[in-house]
């Protein structure tokens, strides 16, 4: 069992490693697809170039060396073969033949050494060689075989050849062959081979670099051929994001990228179809709401006329019937407001709402709205309306905006309700504040939704449930914004901002 303490350090170490791996991943993916493709292509080219060059070089070098070695060994053996000696070997005689063999060097000059017992003879200045290794001497003395060894001494490569000598026991050749104890060595510089090998290395290098440069061209072409469809897809996706759902990509070939394009096209088509269906469904729903409101309007007008008459006569009825008649009258009135609001909303949805602007004094307009609704009690309504602010507004719609906001504040908040008019940086700002408990933060994002009930338990509200939605649409029609929030002292704050347009010629809807 390990304690948590014992486990903690490795866990921390792993986490640290992971973050560095993540950093490396980010570093790698930071380079574009093109760079990575080209780098990968060049890497493959370099590896194959290098491997080919290395293998070719090895084979060529070995061939050069083998030829030299074989020539040297067999020629050296030929030179030694057939010379006559006495046994023990006569020094003068051996010296002569060593010099003779040294003159017959092939393929390069060699220095010949001979060893017999304690006798050491050479064709050079010194009787023994520092290049010959003990291993070669031991092999040559112990076994009746020719042998060679490449030795690098002082940076110079040498070929050393050892040929032991044997003799026949009788003239027929049937007799045994015994070693004489006389061994010849040849030491040959491999400078020419060294130069050839170096030339090959240079040739391989000088060949590989241009090959890499040439490989850059197909690398770029390959990257282009891969990247072009990717760019097409990207462009199409962006185009589609801008709302052009009919965007399609031209499909070429049958590779994975063509598959990608085809998939993209299919997805786009399906998306377009879905959006069209949605749009038509929405349009149907709106038309339905609009039609219903229109159909309801005529009978409602009749009902309103009747309820008004009934209302007037209610005094003469018995109390229960009078209460029922007044209820019907009130509800019919609400229904009429609801239908009006629905029709207004339908006009917005159908983009049929028009802006009929006029240059007005804003303070005066607001004051007129409040008076028309009988909201003049200073205990309930406090106004800060500086005179002289003029703007191009649709007076009817602006009236609806102010009336809805103030009515909302009076209904849901607590008096006094403050209406403040200010101008900031080219915008007209109307602020409606109440002293109520404010708006629940969860509700805040939805206050402008249609029929949104802040408290589901409350059931029907006094309003139609469309007031703030209509306000929002009206403000938008003016090119402005409306925000809901809570003030620092509690209480809901609604802020309407409409750009100031005092000049002429901007009264377009």
């Amino acid at each position: 069992m390990t304690t948590p303490d014992a486990q903690a350090p490795p866990a921390a170490g792993r986490r640290r490693r992971n973050t560095t791996a993540g950093a490396r991943r980010r570093r790698l993916t930071r380079y574009g697809l093109r760079t990575r493709l080209v780098v990968a292509f060049l890497l493959v080219a370099a590896v194959s170039c290098g491997t080919t060059a290395a293998l070719t070089y090895r084979a060529a070098r070995n061939a050069i060396l083998e030829q030299t070695q074989d020539t040297a060994v067999s020629h050296f053996r030929d030179q030694v073969r057939g010379i006559g000696y006495s046994l023990p070997v006569d020094r003068e005689n051996l010296q002569q033949s060593v010099l003779t063999i040294a003159r017959q060097a092939k393929p390069h000059p060699w220095v010949v050494f001979a060893e017999y017992g304690t006798m050491r003879i050479s064709s050079g200045t010194r009787p023994t060689s520092t290049v010959l290794t003990p291993e070669l001497r031991r092999t040559a003395l112990a076994r009746p075989h020719g042998s060679f060894q490449r030795v690098v001494s002082g940076g110079t490569p040498y070929l050393t050849v050892a040929i032991p000598t044997t003799f026949k026991m009788d003239e027929t050749g049937a007799g045994a062959i015994r070693p004489t104890g006389l061994v010849f060595f040849a030491v040959m510089r491999l400078e020419d081979e060294e130069a050839e090998v170096r030339a090959m290395v240079l040739a391989a290098r000088d060949g590989a670099l241009p090959a890499l440069a040439v490989a850059l061209v197909p690398a770029l072409l390959a990257a282009r051929s891969v990247l072009r469809p990717v760019r097409d897809v990207q462009r199409a996706a962006r185009h589609m994001g801008q709302g052009h759902l009919d965007t399609r990509i031209q499909v070429k070939g049958g590779d994975e990228l063509a598959d990608l394009a085809r998939t993209f096209n299919e997805s786009a088509a399906r998306l377009e179809r879905s959006v069209e269906e949605l749009q038509s469904a929405e349009a149907r729903a709106r038309r339905f709401a609009s039609d219903v409101s229109h159909e309801l309007r005529t009978p409602l007008a009749g009902m309103l006329a009747v309820t008004e008459v009934l209302d007037e006569d209610a005094g003469g009825l018995d109390p229960d019937t009078a209460a029922a008649v007044r209820l019907i009258s009130a509800e019919t009135g609400k229904l009429a407001v609801l239908v009006e609001d629905l029709m207004e909303i339908s006009r917005f949805d159908a983009r049929a709402a028009e802006l009929n602007t006029d240059e007005v004094d804003v303070a005066e307009t607001i004051r007129r709205t409040l008076i028309a609704r009988h909201w003049t009690d200073p205990e309930r309504i406090v106004t800060h309306l500086p005179d002289g602010i003029r703007a191009r507004l649709d007076p009817r719609r602006f009236d609806v905006v102010v009336a809805n906001l103030v009515g909302n504040a009076l209904r849901h908040g607590r008096p006094p309700v403050t209406v403040r008019l200010i101008t900031t940086g080219g915008a007209l700002v109307v602020e409606v504040t109440d002293r109520g408990p404010g708006i629940d933060p969860e509700v805040l994002p939805h206050v402008f939704d249609r029929f949104y009930k802040a408290d589901p338990a409350r059931g029907r509200s006094a309003g139609s449930g469309l007031g703030l939605a209509i306000t929002l649409e009206n403000v938008r029609l003016h090119g402005g914004t409306v925000r809901a929030g809570n003030g620092p002292a509690g209480g809901a704050v609604f802020v309407v901002e409409i750009p100031l347009r005092t000049g002429e010629g901007e009264s377009t809807p």
């Binding site: 791996a21 490396r24 991943r25 890497l43 370099a46 590896v47 491997t51 290395a54 090895r58 070098r61 060396l65 070695q69 067999s74 053996r77 030694v80 073969r81 057939g82 010379i83 006559g84 000696y85 006495s86 046994l87 023990p88 017992g117 304690t118 006798m119 290794t133 291993e135 092999t139 003395l141 009746p144 075989h145 020719g146 042998s147 060679f148 060894q149 490449r150 690098v152 490569p157 040929i163 032991p164 000598t165 044997t166 003799f167 026991m169 009788d170 003239e171 049937a174 007799g175 045994a176 062959i177 015994r178 004489t180 104890g181 010849f184 491999l190 081979e193 060294e194 090998v197 290395v201």
Partner: protein, 213 residues
């Protein structure tokens, strides 16, 4: 990602090492290539006597002495600076010492193995000693070799011929080089093919059959 990096680094390192280590000419081990060179040894086959002595490195090497010189100074007595042993055979062709006439080479009879071994016992001559040859055999006073070819049972067909050599040397005390000196000298005196086994038998016993290695 990490493994791909490692693989890339590995490939790079491999390429680099292959390029670097493959440059130029490297040394090599000792490589055998073909046979030895066969040379002519003079005097030619029938005119020589082969004796085997020991080099300074302990290897047993042959020397070829001319038959015609054997009479003038058959044992290198002058070099040894000592009188010939009284029981040494005189110039007697019938005793197997051959003839002194070099022009009748072809008819020289084979020198007997016992005589050849007697020459061996006398040790290397001056020229032979000059190249480091020596002998591992004891002083040449008391030896006499008796060579017998048919003692005991005959060997099976295909097996090498066997020769028994009786000597006064204590054969069990001889070292490898000394035994090889005797064996090789005896083998090639008997048969140039070398297909002969030698059994050395002394007053102290008998050695296992040996061949010239």
């Amino acid at each position: 990602m990490r493994r791909r990096h490692t693989a890339l680094a590995g490939a790079g390192a491999l390429l680099l090492t292959a390029t670097l280590t493959a440059c130029g000419i490297q040394g090599s081990d000792v490589i055998e290539a073909g046979g030895a060179a066969t040379i002519d040894v003079s005097p030619q086959h029938r005119q020589r006597v082969l004796l085997f002595f020991v080099g300074q490195d302990g290897r047993v090497l042959p020397v070829a002495r001319a038959r015609e010189n054997l009479f003038g100074d058959p044992l290198g007595r002058i070099e040894h600076d000592q009188p010939p042993p009284t029981d040494w055979p005189r110039e007697d062709p019938a005793a197997g010492w051959g003839t002194s006439d070099p022009w009748t080479d072809q008819d020289l009879p084979r020198l007997g193995t016992d005589k050849t071994l007697a020459l061996l016992m006398y040790g290397p001559r001056k020229a032979e000693r000059a190249v480091g040859l020596g002998t591992r055999l004891p002083d040449p006073d008391k030896q006499a070799f008796q060579v017998s070819h048919q003692e005991g049972a005959t060997a099976e067909p295909g097996a090498p011929r066997r020769v028994w050599i009786r000597t006064s040397l204590t054969v069990t005390e001889l070292d490898w080089a000394a035994v090889q000196q005797i064996v090789c000298t005896a083998v090639y005196a008997e048969d140039p093919s070398g297909e002969v086994e030698v059994v050395l038998r002394g007053p102290d016993g008998e050695r296992d059959p040996a061949r010239c290695e």
